[in-house]
């Protein structure tokens, strides 16, 4: 069932891609790695869980979870990044790890460490196209992921704030001299990045229906891998690498056994870092949007 595996990998990979883009936005624009994106993603999933459990329909729960996740990311920016401006990038990386610990533990205390189920929130219909089985849930996931990517591209290319972001990514100093309001850009980028991670949380909740406080580490770190494989800080790269990673993972589970999937994923990461440190679509030295 090779083609079926490809389809399943694509679904998994679309979430990796969204998380990867969430990481890439911050790395691409500010040259900093916010590891806590993984936990923002986890909180997005739990926020979605709470909403869906209380009867909020999926179409309304998705934007609400995104806004919540975006706000969480702004809090992280306020305490883990803003006070540390001017320090080497590994310092904010470490403080974002502090936030990861804080958020994982808080979620464990609120929701427990057990894996929780999403109640069915999308009417499940199965479509059989020849030998391939596609569910309505999978179509929703793919549709939402593609839609968010398109909206993000339009935002970056066509709006004033998007142009500001690209200008800061190109050269922060020049951008500020030319009158780009760096505070606004930082807030907008962190909010956007958090919202995308939150959306990925909702989608993962739909697909696997199992979420726990530890998915930030289990799944979120794979978003970092997707970002690096695609070309650190490169948004299209992360969009492309997410599905590649998802397919590689699903195929390795199918043909090598479930135990080897992390070896394949992280092996791919190290291979790319050594052979092509700039990633699949990355520019040499410093990645661009």
């Amino acid at each position: 069932m090779f083609v079926q595996q490809l389809v399943n990998g694509l679904m998994l990979g679309s979430s990796y891609g969204l998380i990867g883009v969430a990481f890439a936005l911050i790395l691409g624009i500010f040259d900093m790695l916010n590891i806590a994106i993984g936990e923002v993603f986890m909180l997005g999933a739990f926020c979605g869980l709470v909403l869906v459990t209380h009867g909020v329909p999926f179409v309304a729960a998705l934007p609400m979870a995104m806004v919540f996740a975006g706000l969480v990311n702004l809090v992280i920016e306020r305490f883990a990044f803003r006070p540390l401006r001017g320090t080497p990038p590994v310092i904010p990386l470490l403080s974002s790890i502090g936030f990861s610990m804080l958020l994982t533990d808080t979620a464990t205390n609120i929701w427990g460490s057990e894996r929780t189920q999403f109640p069915p929130s999308v009417h499940v219909v199965n479509f059989e196209i020849g030998p391939i089985l596609i569910t309505s849930v999978q179509i929703v996931i793919l549709g939402v992921a593609v839609l968010l990517m398109v909206v993000l591209q339009l935002l970056l290319q066509r709006t004033k704030i998007g142009r500001g972001m690209r200008a800061v990514a190109e050269n922060a100093l020049t951008a500020s001299i030319l009158g780009v309001d760096s505070r606004r850009i930082i807030v907008a980028t962190f909010f956007l990045s958090g919202a995308l991670a939150g959306a990925a949380g909702m989608l993962v909740g739909l697909t696997f229906s199992v979420i726990s406080p530890f998915i930030g580490i289990e799944i979120g770190l794979k978003g970092v891998v997707a970002m690096v494989v695609g070309g650190a800080g490169n948004i299209q790269g992360a969009m492309l690498a997410g599905p590649i990673l998802g397919i590689a993972e699903v195929l390795s589970v199918a043909y090598l056994g479930a135990a080897h999937r992390d070896v394949v994923v992280y092996g791919l990461l190290i291979l790319v870092l050594i052979v092509r440190p700039a990633g699949l679509l990355g520019a040499v030295e410093r990645a661009r949007l």
């Binding site: 790395l27 900093m32 790695l33 305490f79 883990a80 006070p83 540390l84 001017g86 320090t87 080497p88 990038p89 590994v90 310092i91 990386l93 470490l94 403080s95 790890i97 502090g98 936030f99 990861s100 610990m101 804080l102 958020l103 994982t104 533990d105 808080t106 464990t108 205390n109 580490i217 770190l221 970092v224 891998v225 690096v228 650190a232 135990a259 080897h260 992390d262 070896v263 992280y266 092996g267 990461l269 190290i270 870092l273 050594i274 440190p277």
Partner: protein, 281 residues
């Protein structure tokens, strides 16, 4: 005489000092490694296999575990030369995860079930190793080699211009750091009596860096204080119950806000700009 309980705390502090130094050495050459739990796992599993399966004495088994970790460290150190800053951190993180997954699938060491049957690590033994390493670090700090490491840390390009062998220094630092992590892992396994792959996860690597961070990134004895505080504090904070992890996370964020360079930096004012150039990647 110390109670058993205090002896255990002191012993764990000693092991954590060794692990902290394994994070300190790469940092001393400007490399942040987030995969040291992988080297710790190699040392722990290798020495345990030797003592449990092949009835080796503890000392040669510890040395063999450290040596194996060192070889792996050198092998990782070479490709790591191409990477800087956060990219190196991400790559070493990936390495740590691969080692953990390897032991999850390795039947000889029990796979996910873990391994038991080790024993024999004593308080005196652990602190003897700490003392040996401390003498080593002290000598290093007063040697040409120590100055060379400082030079690589402060400005890699300039260090290379004056004829220092950057490759040997950075890979060497990685190898010795891996050996320290392997040694710490071996001692840990023979103290705690049971190991499983989950022991050596990403968080363990982070905690090693925290020891260094708390003590200040440029002094090896700062790591001793960092390791002691982080070993004893969780015990004093038992009243926080399940919120301890959250407390540590918040503490880390707070510490970095008030003292981004650690609590005991050697030359608080001189480093920042140089460091930026060295690790900026």
């Amino acid at each position: 005489m110390l109670s058993d309980y205090h002896q255990t705390l002191l012993l764990l502090t000693g092991i954590n000092v060794l692990l902290g130094w394994s994070a300190y050495l790469p940092l001393a050459t400007g490399q942040l490694s987030l995969g040291n739990a992988g080297f710790m796992a190699v040392g722990a599993y290798a020495s345990s296999l030797l003592t449990v399966q092949w009835q080796w004495a503890l000392l040669p088994a510890l040395l063999a575990g450290a040596a194996l970790a060192a070889i792996l460290g050198v092998l990782v150190g070479f490709p790591a030369l191409r990477l800087h800053g956060i990219y190196l951190a991400i790559a070493t993180l990936g390495f740590g995860e691969i080692v953990r997954t390897f032991f999850l699938n390795f039947d000889l060491t029990g796979g996910p079930m873990g391994m038991r049957g080790m024993s024999g690590a004593t308080l005196g033994m652990v602190w003897a190793w700490v003392l040996v390493c401390a003498v080593g670090f002290f000598a290093l700090g007063h040697s040409r080699l120590g100055l060379s490491l400082d030079a690589v840390h402060d400005d890699e390009v300039a260090a290379e211009m004056v004829g220092l062998n950057i490759t040997a220094l950075k890979v060497g630092a990685f190898g010795v750091a891996a050996a320290l992590a392997g040694l710490g892992g071996g001692l840990y396994a023979h103290h705690i009596l049971f190991i499983e792959p989950g022991t050596f996860n990403f968080m363990e690597s982070i905690i090693m860096v925290l020891f260094v961070l708390l003590g200040g990134m440029r002094t090896f004895w700062g790591t001793v204080i960092g390791a002691a505080v982080f070993t004893i504090l969780p015990d004093l904070l038992r009243f926080l119950h399940s919120w301890r992890g959250a407390f540590f996370g918040a503490l880390l964020v707070f510490l970095l806000i008030v003292r981004p360079w650690g609590l005991l930096p050697r030359e608080t004012l001189r480093i920042p700009m140089r460091w930026l150039a060295g690790v900026g990647g």
